[in-house]
Amino acid sequence: MNAAIDNHWYPVAMISGIDAPRETLLLGKKISLGREDGTCWVLDASGAELPTVERFGHLWTSPGQPNRDLFTIPEADSPGRRLVDVGSVKVKCSPLRAVENFLDIAHFPFVHTDILGAEPHTEVDRYDVKIREEVDEVWATKVKFYQPQAAKSAAGGITTEYMYRVPAPTCSVLYKTCPPRPGEWDVITLFVQPLTEEWCEVWPWMALYDDESTMSEMVSFQQLIFMQDRSILENQLPRKLPLDPGMEVPTQADMTSVAYRRWLKKIGYTYGAQLVAA
C-alpha cells in the first residue's frame, strides 16, 4: 500500500455503460464493478467493498482512504450544456504520459493536422503556469493557439484560448474558447484509469455548448482527436513518464508538463513514473 497513490479517486466506468457486472484492473489489481437498483458498486479482489462516487457520468472508486472529496467542475453544471459520454480507449502507455500529452499544445499541427493546428502556425506563446497550493492543483492559463477547426461547432480557423487544470494525478480538465458562445468556456476532460503502470484506459468526457451537432458527431470528433494521440502515446520510450530532469528536454512551450512532473514528484505520485534515468 502506498497512500500517496491509493488515496486518490479513479474513474473505472461510464455509468451509462454498466449493464452486467464486470472485472477490470486498477493500479495493477483486479476489481469488479456493477450496478444494482440504480446504485453502482465496486469490490476489490478479496470481495471487500470499495468507496464509490458517481460524478461526470462516470463511476469513481479508490483502493485507499481518500482524504478529500472527488474534485468538482462547477462550470459543467451551468444550464444549456450538453454532457457527452465519449466512451473509453485503452492505451499501452503510462497513465501519466496520457495526461501529459493532454496538457500539450505544441503537437497540434503535427498530430491533429488541420483540426487543432496547422503549419506554419506552430509557435507557442508564453503562458502562465502555477501549482495552486491552496487546492493542490496544477493550472495553466492564458494559453493561446491558432486552430483550423477548434471544435465540431467551429466554422473556420480561430485563435483559441485554453486553460488547463490538473485536479488529480490521472485527471485533467481543459477549459476552451467556446465558438458559439464567446465569454463561456467549453469543458473537455480526460479521466485516466491506471490499469497498470504501462497500460491505461482513457475516459474523455465533455460539457459543451453546441446546439448544432448531433451527439454522435460530438463523440466522433473527440474520439478522432484522442485516437490520433494514441498512436503517439504507444510509441514513446520509455513507456513510463520520466520525472527526473535529464532524460527528456523541455522547452518554454512545455511549462505545463514541467509543472505537472514537479507536482507529481512533490506529492509522491510515482505510479507510472520513471524516477531514475535508465
Binding site: M14, S16, G17, D85, V86, G87, S88, V89, K90, K92, F110, V111, T113, E119, P120, T122, T214, M215, S216, E217, V219, S220, F221, Q223, L224, I225, F226, M227, Q228, R230, S231, E234
Partner: protein, 204 residues
C-alpha cells in the same frame, strides 16, 4: 450519397478514402458505434438488419458490404478496377477478421482470442509482403499492377492500422513502400492512426 459512418472504423475509412480519391462527394452521418452501439439501434437495423457499418445509401439503394460499396463508387471509373480485385477483396476480409479484430480488442475491449487474431494477422501480412515483393520485381508497386485499384483501397486500412492491435509492421519493407505509395496519391485523406506524409508540406 449518404455514408453512415464511424470515424474509427477501418471499413468506413475504405469508403471515405475511395470517395476522396475519386473526388466523389459523400454526405457523412456519424454513428455512435462506441460507446453508444447506435449501429444496433432500431433505426439503423431498419436500414441494415445485419447491424454493421458502413452503410451506403444512394437514393433507393442500400449497400452494407464494403466491397460492394467500393465497386459501386468506381462503377464509372474503370481505371480503379482490375480482374484480380476479387481475390484481394476476399483477402481484405481476412485482414478485417484478424488485424481488425485485434485492433478492436486492444482499443475498445472487444472480446477476442487475441493471440489467435494476431497470429492470423501476421500470417496475412507475410502473404501480402510476399506478393508485393514479387510485384516490385516486375516494377509494379500496387497489388494488381502499376496503378491502384479497389483491391489496394480495401486492403490498406486494416494493414496500416495493424499496430493499433499490437501487430508490428516493422519487418515488411514492401508493405511499407506500398502504403507510402497509397499515402502519396492525390486526394489521399487520413484517419486516426494513419497520418499523412508531412514531408509534403512546406511551411512558410
Amino acid at each position: 450519397m449518404i455514408l453512415y459512418d464511424y470515424v474509427l472504423s477501418a471499413s468506413c475509412y475504405k469508403v471515405r478514402l475511395m470517395a476522396a480519391l475519386l473526388g466523389t462527394p459523400l454526405t457523412l452521418r456519424a454513428v455512435n458505434f462506441h460507446p453508444g452501439r447506435e449501429h444496433k439501434s432500431p433505426e439503423m437495423l431498419a436500414l441494415n438488419p445485419k447491424g454493421t457499418l458502413p452503410i451506403l445509401q444512394d437514393r433507393d439503394t442500400v449497400l452494407t458490404d464494403s466491397a460492394d460499396i467500393l465497386r459501386r463508387l468506381t462503377a464509372d471509373h474503370p481505371e480503379w478496377q482490375n480482374t484480380d480485385d476479387d481475390r484481394w477483396l476476399a483477402f481484405a476480409s481476412d485482414l478485417n477478421d484478424s488485424l481488425g479484430l485485434a485492433r478492436l480488442h486492444d482499443v475498445i475491449g472487444y472480446e477476442a482470442d487475441i493471440d489467435k487474431a494476431r497470429a492470423a494477422g501476421v500470417s496475412a501480412l507475410r502473404k501480402l509482403e510476399a506478393h508485393l515483393t514479387e510485384q516490385r520485381f516486375d516494377g509494379l508497386i500496387f497489388l494488381t499492377g502499376s496503378n491502384p485499384t479497389i483491391a489496394d483501397i480495401a486492403c490498406f486500412p486494416n494493414t496500416a492500422l495493424a499496430p493499433d492491435g499490437g501487430v508490428t509492421l516493422d519487418p515488411y519493407p514492401s508493405i511499407r513502400l506500398w502504403m507510402r505509395a497509397i499515402r502519396s496519391l492525390p486526394g489521399f485523406i487520413e484517419m486516426p492512426g494513419i497520418h499523412r506524409l508531412h514531408e509534403l508540406a512546406h511551411p512558410a
